[in-house]
């Protein structure tokens, strides 16, 4: 049964956020007998209550607190208060995510070494290698039930995949299949197989897709060692004179401020809220924010080089039917600078419902050029580009100079501008994607600009040296021993792959380290 812990219990590990990183870490620690309190800003909404409707689901689950944006990216103009699509609910963005679960490639852990000094980029090697992560990747894939691992069958291809696959074959791509998806292709782990409902982005009402909400969290709660406190928005992390963190201040469901004591604090609020919280926790001892002696908190914000290609055919596709993202071409994921850029990208199938297609196909677009595309909505196919973007110091999550949230804390201001390498990669991917569809007879195709960021990374990056980043190879902050970062903000570089499998992998590994350090009494 879920164990309620007292506010003044200073023996607990407090985790901020219950998504991919926080939810996994909480369960892993609880399984080891460690007392854990997860504070989650959003409400607890079980999967039966998810809604098969894009905008209704968005209002139900998305993080809608005010944010601002700046920089050269188009999202700044088209969605000035929605830089990112992130969830505020128990389970975090693993409620909305599509399930694509890929391991990073070996060379991607050594970005600086393999790509060299790229002008304007703040590249750095990870302090860990693929070999360090392999055993943990294996655990994560088993936990999440990733298809094409552990003897789990791939998902069947839907209509959108079939068009995609036919194009890939025509272009001679070799590695194209229905993906490594954290979606059950058959009953597994007490959850049923995918029913091809096609609302993966709205939360899976069958529970076929892995989410911490109905896997890690209830499993952790069942140990009696994990309490998840929903509607608990953390405002500040506090420390003592020695610089150790001691408690967190949060607003409870009634907006009343509470203080929860802690032995260890793990920040897992995703890459916008995590650095914001560290910056908002500035004190006289740490005037630039917690764990920020390097000045890198909030910097190097990455979001993957993305974009979509949609195409119209002369016959129906019905691409919204079935799994949203079960289809991938991996041939372009390699590092091959002869293409005119460093790093690589994946192509993945993607379908949007009519309401989101209208909002995202060409934001701001109007007139017949736009509407004749939608007129053929039922004859559309679509894919998403996800590639490695360059970390840049000026791409950053900053505290807004004037605007505050309802608790009086400065809101985040998210700055992003493409690096020339990102632009070159995107243009290459557009060309390849359009060629795939042309090869199967598309009559018109659309290079669609990036959506608000779904992959938010890098703002508390991992580094060998304390002067280069915020956390060490365990996600422990260089500056404060009992303060950890447990989400995608740890990423030193973004790699070409969707991030969540790696976030979960790092959380499993971090749990081992925390348990070890606790029993050695070093934290």
């Amino acid at each position: 049964m879920p164990a309620p812990y007292a506010l003044n219990d200073d023996s607990v590990v407090v985790i901020i956020g219950s998504g991919a990183g926080g939810g996994t870490l909480g369960n892993e620690l609880a399984q080891k007998g460690i007392d854990v309190v997860i504070l989650e800003a959003g409400p607890r909404i079980e999967y039966e209550d998810f809604i098969n409707d894009e905008w209704d689901s968005f209002s139900q689950l998305a993080w809608l607190d005010n944010r601002t944006t700046g920089g050269g990216w188009r999202v700044h103009k088209d969605f000035p208060n929605l830089p990112a699509w992130i969830v505020k609910a128990v389970g975090g963005t693993t409620t909305h995510w599509a399930g694509a679960s890929l391991r990073f490639q070996e060379h991607e852990f050594k970005g600086l070494t393999n790509y060299g000094k790229v002008e304007g980029a703040n590249l750095l090697d990870w302090p860990i290698t693929l070999a360090d992560l392999e055993p943990y990747y294996a655990k994560a894939e088993d936990k999440m039930g990733v298809t094409r691992t552990n003897g789990i069958e791939g998902l069947p291809g839907n209509n959108n995949f079939k068009v995609f696959k036919a194009g890939a074959d025509k272009l001679g791509y070799k590695e194209c299949h229905t993906g490594n998806m954290a979606i059950n292709s058959a009953d597994r782990d007490g959850r049923m197989g995918c029913q091809q409902t096609g609302f993966c982005f709205q939360g899976c009402k069958w529970g076929a897709k892995w989410s911490t909400l109905y896997t890690e969290i209830p499993k952790g709660e069942a140990t009696g060692k994990l309490e998840v406190r929903p509607s608990s928005h953390v405002l500040k992390i506090e420390h003592d004179d020695s610089g150790k963190v001691t408690s967190v201040v949060y607003a409870d469901k009634d907006g009343k401020q509470q203080s929860q004591k802690a032995r260890i604090v793990c920040v897992a609020g995703n890459s916008i809220e995590s650095p914001r919280l560290l910056l908002n926790s500035a004190s006289s001892k740490f005037p630039d924010g917690l764990a920020n002696s390097s000045g890198q908190v909030g910097k190097n914000y990455m979001r993957h080089t993305t974009g979509s290609v949609y195409a119209i055919f002369d016959k129906p596709v019905h691409f919204w039917r079935g799994t949203t993202m079960a289809g991938i071409v991996r041939d372009e994921a390699k590092h091959d600078p002869s293409r005119g850029f460093v790093g690589g990208y994946e192509l993945e199938t993607l379908a949007l419902g009519l309401p989101f297609m209208a909002a995202f196909l060409d934001p701001g677009g109007w007139g017949r050029s736009f509407t004749t595309a939608l007129d053929h909505y039922d004859k559309m196919a679509g894919m998403w580009i996800v590639g490695e973007d360059m970390p840049q110091e000026q791409n950053a999550v900053k505290l807004h100079g004037e605007l505050k949230d309802k608790y009086g804390m400065p809101i985040p201001d998210v700055w992003f501008t493409d690096h020339p390498n990102d632009v070159a990669m995107r243009n290459h991917a557009y060309k390849q994607g359009m060629a795939m569809y042309d090869a199967v007879g598309a009559t018109r195709s659309f290079p669609t600009p990036p959506y608000p960021s779904t992959h938010n990374l890098g703002t508390n990056r991992m580094s060998e040296k304390a002067s280069d980043g915020v956390v060490n190879k365990w996600g422990q902050t260089h500056d404060i021993k009992n303060l950890f970062v447990s989400d995608g903000s740890q990423f030193t570089t973004g790699a070409a792959e969707n991030p969540t499998l790696t976030i979960v992998t790092l959380a499993i590994r971090q749990a081992d380290y925390i348990a070890e350090q606790m029993s050695a009494k070093s934290i």
Binding site: N159, W206, A358, T371, L374, Y377
Partner: protein, 177 residues
């Protein structure tokens, strides 16, 4: 109800026909209502002038023209501006002034007096960066395309959980490849 085909002198304003789109739907102003004879619906205006509403419907169609979508759905899509105008004087002014400006730019017959979509779109290109245009366009993205009744016109099937998903309903039924 009167159907009048040309705004001739001598007609009262409220009888003035608001000529519909090239698709030919006819909108009639009667009292505070905008009526569609062909589609058999009416929209009661509360804060905006009914003529303004009729022009807004044409404007909405010109921004997102779908010849297969009846006026009714454009009318529903712009209704929120009438509601908002009732609560917010600044919004009312934004809309009324925006429409007046559009009419003025369009010459003697006003915006809806321009017979070809191309002529109206040419006017819209002049104002597309204005807060008025952006307010209308922005609201239509959700106001028009999020109407469940509109989805079948585009073939979109909407909610599928209650029907058991598409596992037995054609998720992989493509035949032409």
């Amino acid at each position: 109800m009167v159907t009048i085909y040309q705004g001739r002198p001598g007609l009262t304003r409220r009888e003035l026909l608001k000529r519909g789109s090239a698709a030919g739907a006819l909108l009639i102003i009667s009292g505070s209502a905008v009526l569609s004879t062909s589609e058999a619906w009416g929209l009661e205006s509360t804060a905006l002038k009914p003529e303004t509403i009729a022009t807004l419907i044409q404007l909405a169609r010109d921004i997102y023209p779908h010849d297969q979508v009846p006026d009714k759905y454009y009318a529903i899509a712009i209704k929120s501006h009438d509601e908002q105008a009732g609560k917010d004087a600044a919004h009312k002014e934004l809309i009324e002034k925006g429409i007046a400006d559009l009419d003025q730019k369009s010459g003697a017959g006003g915006y809806t007096g321009l017979g070809w979509e191309d002529e109206r779109v040419a006017i819209l290109r002049q104002i597309e960066d204005t807060p008025f245009f952006q307010a209308i366009r922005g609201s239509l993205v959700v106001g028009l395309y999020n109407q469940k009744e509109v989805w079948p016109i585009f073939g979109y099937e909407g909610e599928s959980y209650s029907k058991g998903g598409y596992i037995a309903r054609g998720f992989d039924d493509i035949e032409w490849l």
